[in-house]
């Protein structure tokens, strides 16, 4: 017999996808340190590689790895940068 059940989810709509930054052209890229040990080592290397390719790099950091980045930080990055890379290090 067919059965009706209630949706246990929040019934979200899928978030619209935003286009990724195009390859090639010089961009401003944010590197976010999530405050895990040695994340800075990884980001230093990424910064070097990005600058070699002509990109601008903005270094940012979360206050603590255990919590989402503050809204102001996210807004700031969105306004200033074309792309963002987080360092998930340990």
């Amino acid at each position: 017999m067919a059965l009706t059940i209630l949706d246990p989810t929040a019934e979200r709509d899928a978030a619209p996808e935003r286009p990724l930054a195009q390859r090639g052209a010089a961009r401003t890229i944010a590197l976010v340190d999530i405050r895990k040990p040695r994340g800075d080592v990884f980001l230093d290397e990424l910064e070097r590689l990005l600058r070699e390719r002509g990109h601008e790099v903005v270094r940012e950091a979360k206050p603590t790895f255990t919590k989402p980045a503050p809204q102001d930080l996210r807004r700031d990055i969105a306004q200033r940068c074309d792309a963002v890379i987080e360092a998930l290090a340990d």
Binding site: L3, T4, L6, D7, P8, T9, A10, R12, T66
Partner: protein, 484 residues
């Protein structure tokens, strides 16, 4: 002039007795039964007309009789009087008021009727669900599981389970569950990460049904969801971390939970399903899926759901954890804390609190690694045979916490990177004096003490925490009373 309306059903001998008279007098009759059953009854009784059907039991639900036959005297839509079952003199009075001649001579003076179909448990649940939907009390989207689908497989295939079968959350079951709280189903309990979704009472109730809750646990689940959604609990990070911690619920002073033998183990429905309901709510409403948003390297079985209740009987050495953390003494409470799997602390020789604290402290030093200092909290679940030692000596919770904090200091030289061959440890730049004692925990009250378990066994259990305090997750305590 008022009119008569009768409600009957096909499998009621009292209805059979009354129907010929109603038919002969031309009274409008509505049957609660199916079309086929109603037609068969009319044929069996030789009625001149087949009773109309009470579609979806709408009229029966409106007048909500206990028994049929019910003879109603209506003035337009308003009920002026009714008779349930057979009461010959009163039925005659109703008929007279409606200007109808009812030949009641063959009927007994009185006869109790049969239960109205609206009181059949299955039908009543269906009607209650329909009513709740019509009133906007339940608003969740309805999902249809097809006739050829196995409902348990279908729920799993839709990604709505934790890997174990769940109870299908039919509208009937959810409405029944919602009867265990006085809160409006659309009240928002918490906004849950990672996608910032509102967990309404209704959504929590749906997940509580799926988890297998019997019903009385719902206020506990609601309080736990509220606590887990507090900013200080940092659920987003707990969900996303590679660490195995999950939310553990400690219930203080709420009936119906096992607090004794095998308190952390299987077998107690309330404990098993309450923890699971919180985790299913986080998964389904918040959107935190294992391997997707949940990045635990290993996880642990307690992430299916971990809930236990404190033993607050005469043997308890201290008041409940929730009450100690601000919930009024006469209210039940929950404490939700980010914890890994518990492990045993054995000391079968201690008979006084000082020695017992020394043994407990050794286990506390080992949370995560002895080298990790000040970053994680812990919970000790003290068993009755250990608790008795503190109770007999009159040691308060604060006294035990203070002593454990003192005993969980180690010399910096033993904690520095490279000591004992282990590269993990304190940065040597911080260690100027190898003899300097370094605390394991940030403060005495960062070692939480709960009390539960079976009478026999000189054991306690330690749960290691996760990144704690302002830089991580703090335990959150809430009263259950607002959710009753």
């Amino acid at each position: 002039m008022p009119e008569l309306l009768a409600l009957v059903k096909h499998d009621c001998p009292v209805c059979d007795q009354v129907l010929p008279a109603l038919d002969a007098a031309g009274v409008r009759v509505l049957s609660q039964s199916s079309a086929a059953d109603t037609a068969a009854q009319a044929a069996r009784l030789g009625l001149s007309r087949v009773p109309e059907l009470d579609e979806e039991l709408a009229t029966s639900q409106r007048f909500d009789p206990d028994a049929v036959p019910t003879l109603l005297l209506l003035d337009g839509d308003d009920e002026r009087d009714r008779v349930e079952g057979i009461q010959r003199d009163r039925m005659a009075a109703l008929a007279a008021a409606a200007g109808v001649e009812l030949a009641l001579g063959d009927l007994p003076e009185r006869r109790v009727g049969c239960a109205s179909l609206t009181h059949d448990p299955e039908v009543a649940a269906r009607l209650a669900a329909r009513h709740a939907r019509a009133e906007g009390r339940i608003r969740s989207r309805e999902l249809r599981v097809g006739e050829l689908e196995d409902v348990f497989e279908a729920l799993h295939d839709r990604g709505l389970t934790d890997g174990l079968p769940v109870v299908p959350p039919t509208p009937e079951r959810v409405v029944e569950m919602l009867g265990h709280t006085n809160r409006d189903p659309q009240d928002v309990v918490a906004v849950l990460p990672p996608y910032g979704a509102e967990a309404t009472v209704e959504k929590v109730a749906i997940n509580a049904v799926m988890a297998g809750c019997a019903g009385p646990e719902l206020p506990v689940v609601l309080a736990a969801v509220e606590a887990a959604g507090e900013e200080a609990f940092a659920l987003h990070g707990l969900l996303a971390t590679t660490h195995p911690a999950g939310p553990v619920i400690v219930v203080s002073g709420y009936p119906g939970f096992n607090t004794g033998v095998n308190v952390l183990g299987q077998g107690d429905r309330a404990s098993m399903t309450t923890g699971r309901a919180l985790q299913l709510t986080i998964r389904n409403v918040g959107g935190g899926r294992p391997g997707v948003e949940d990045r635990a390297a290993h996880g642990q079985a307690g992430k299916l759901g971990m809930c236990f209740a404190e033993r607050l009987d005469d043997s308890a050495p201290w008041p409940g954890l929730a009450q100690d953390r601000g919930v009024p003494d006469d209210e039940p409470g929950v404490t939700v804390m980010a914890l890994e799997a518990p492990r045993l602390i054995m000391d079968q020789l201690a008979r006084e609190p000082e020695g017992l604290c020394a043994s407990l402290a050794m286990a506390l030093e080992n949370v995560a690694t002895p080298r990790l200092r000040l970053a994680f909290d812990a919970m000790l679940l003290v068993g009755p045979e250990h608790g008795r030692i503190f109770k007999d000596a009159g040691w308060s919770r604060e006294q035990v916490q203070q002593r454990l904090h003192e005993l969980t200091h180690s010399p910096a030289g033993e904690l520095v990177r490279g000591a004992g061959g282990s590269p993990e440890g304190l940065d040597p730049a911080w260690v100027s004096d190898p003899a300097m004692p370094v605390a394991k925990f940030a403060a005495p009250d960062r070692i939480l003490l709960a009390y539960a378990g079976g009478d026999a066994g000189l054991f306690s259990m330690v749960f290691g925490g996760w990144a704690a305090g302002d830089i991580g997750s703090a335990p959150v305590t809430r009263s259950i009373t607002p959710w009753l």
